[in-house]
């Protein structure tokens, strides 16, 4: 199939950047989206140009490295998958495809479609962990966890930290990511003791990074490749309110 690509090109973080048009010719329908870009890049390289830079790693939908906003939707319009799992058979011959980075002030562009998502790492470093003595693992049955909490925590833990929630949000808010990471630990007995400290620390770091605020429009949930529910945001709001109240009283 033949396609027209409108791709964001940006030389460096401080470059202004602009949309460039490319013709992608003879793309096999069974190619993945990233393979389609590989093919286009081969041609650009042969012609002596600078290939389109984009993030990827596992290409199995599990690592969270790939990004791309495809026709205005992070990871494309397909539900519940990452960009590396999008296939060209979902497009039609002659289509024009817009390819842009995950846009947010807190995700500065490194080059072209590659963004620096280290702000997520700094949020995790502000509370997205548990403090335990290392050594031999405790007996699994010594810490009972009820089934509902275990499955809710497990669903939240599916977050791969790709940042699509931020990219889709009208306000570039990171609430789905932070909500998932906080809920994952807060729901378990191992995470419970540091719950307040975790929530306050992560939310403060999230604000300091310059992410926007949630306006409850749920665009994040719609694009999340792991289909994490905005219930985790409601829980984050609740946990933050109780943590802030306890902090004020103490």
């Amino acid at each position: 199939m033949n396609l027209t690509l409108k791709v964001w090109r940006q030389e460096s973080p401080n470059d202004k950047g602009n949309i460039e048009t490319y013709e992608a010719k003879d793309i096999p329908a069974e190619a993945s989206f990233l393979e389609m870009l590989d093919i286009v890049n081969e041609e650009i390289i042969v012609a002596g140009g600078d290939p389109i830079h984009f993030d990827h790693d596992c290409r199995e939908g599990i690592c969270g490295a790939c990004s791309l906003t495809i026709n205005g939707v992070p990871h494309s319009k397909e539900n519940g998958i990452t960009t590396c799992q999008v296939h060209m058979r979902k497009f039609r011959d002659g289509d024009t495809i817009w390819i842009e980075p995950f846009r947010a002030r807190a995700f500065p562009i490194v080059k072209d479609l590659v963004t620096d998502r280290a702000s997520f790492d700094r949020i995790i470093a502000s509370g997205g962990y548990i403090s335990v003595r290392t050594g031999s693992a405790v007996d699994a049955n010594s810490l009972p966890v009820n089934f509902e909490d275990a499955s809710e925590s497990f669903n939240a833990a599916a977050c791969i930290g790709c940042g699509a929630c931020v990219a889709a949000c009208k306000n570039a808010s990171a609430m789905l990511f932070v909500g998932a990471k906080a809920a994952h630990l807060n729901l378990l007995p191992q995470g419970e003791p540091e719950k307040d400290k975790r929530v306050l620390g992560m939310v403060r770091q999230m604000d300091a990074e310059g992410f926007g605020n949630c306006t409850n429009q749920y665009e994040c949930e719609a694009v999340c490749p792991k289909e994490i529910s905005t219930d985790v945001i409601a829980k984050l709001n609740r946990d933050y309110a109780t943590a802030a109240t306890r902090e004020a009283v103490e």
């Binding site: 949309i19 009208k170 604000d207 306006t215 409850n216 409601a234 609740r238 933050y240 309110a241």
Partner: protein
Amino acid sequence: MNSLGKSLCRFWHSSIGKKIVVALTGAMLILFLLGHVVGNLLVFAGREAMNDYAEFLLHMMHGTGIWVARIGLLVALVLHIVATVSLVRQNRAARDVDYSCKETVQASKSSRIMIWSGLTVLAFVIFHILHFTVRVDSGLANLHDPANPDRHDTFGMVVAGFQNPLVVLFYIVGISLLCSHLSHGIASVFQTLGWRSKKVAGPEKKLGWAIAILLWLGFLSIPVATMMGCLGDPPKIHAAVEEPAKAE
């Protein structure tokens, strides 16, 4: 600053804290609207019922009640506006370069125009207060209840106030945008305050829409019924008080 003050300050400066202020003040304003619409519908019970109600409001708790309510509502509205304007500015800054190809998957239209519906409602609220509370139009201010000339004729004021089609049009626009605001806002309160989980997801959206529609019907039934003549002829507006004074 003491530690409680410091905590309050931190709460206000956090994204979630400010959103909780928006939700709590929004919820207060909604509770007021529910009471206000029920009270207003007394116009359909006739002049006496409406004027009794107006008199009751003015003399609640020896006249202090109405001021407690007015100040409370004013504080809630101001906090709501200051917080939302600040949040909106932060949100715009958080996406410094916009997408060339914009797409929306599931956010409702109402949720995307909250600041504009809100600001129109603000303009409407100011107009409405000047119209029926401050009564800058001395004709409306000087109406007396025919059965009890010592008191103001609130019923007559409403009927007279809605004779102008432009005024009615502004009420229709203002109330419609208020209800658009609430169709997103009410469900939002549940999410922001964390009163939502999978077990109860869904009903809060329906509740939001139901309240928004009921408020829309309730509030707009009054100007529309007046225009259609269902509330009778408007009272004769007497010349302003200054005139006889000048004639003397």
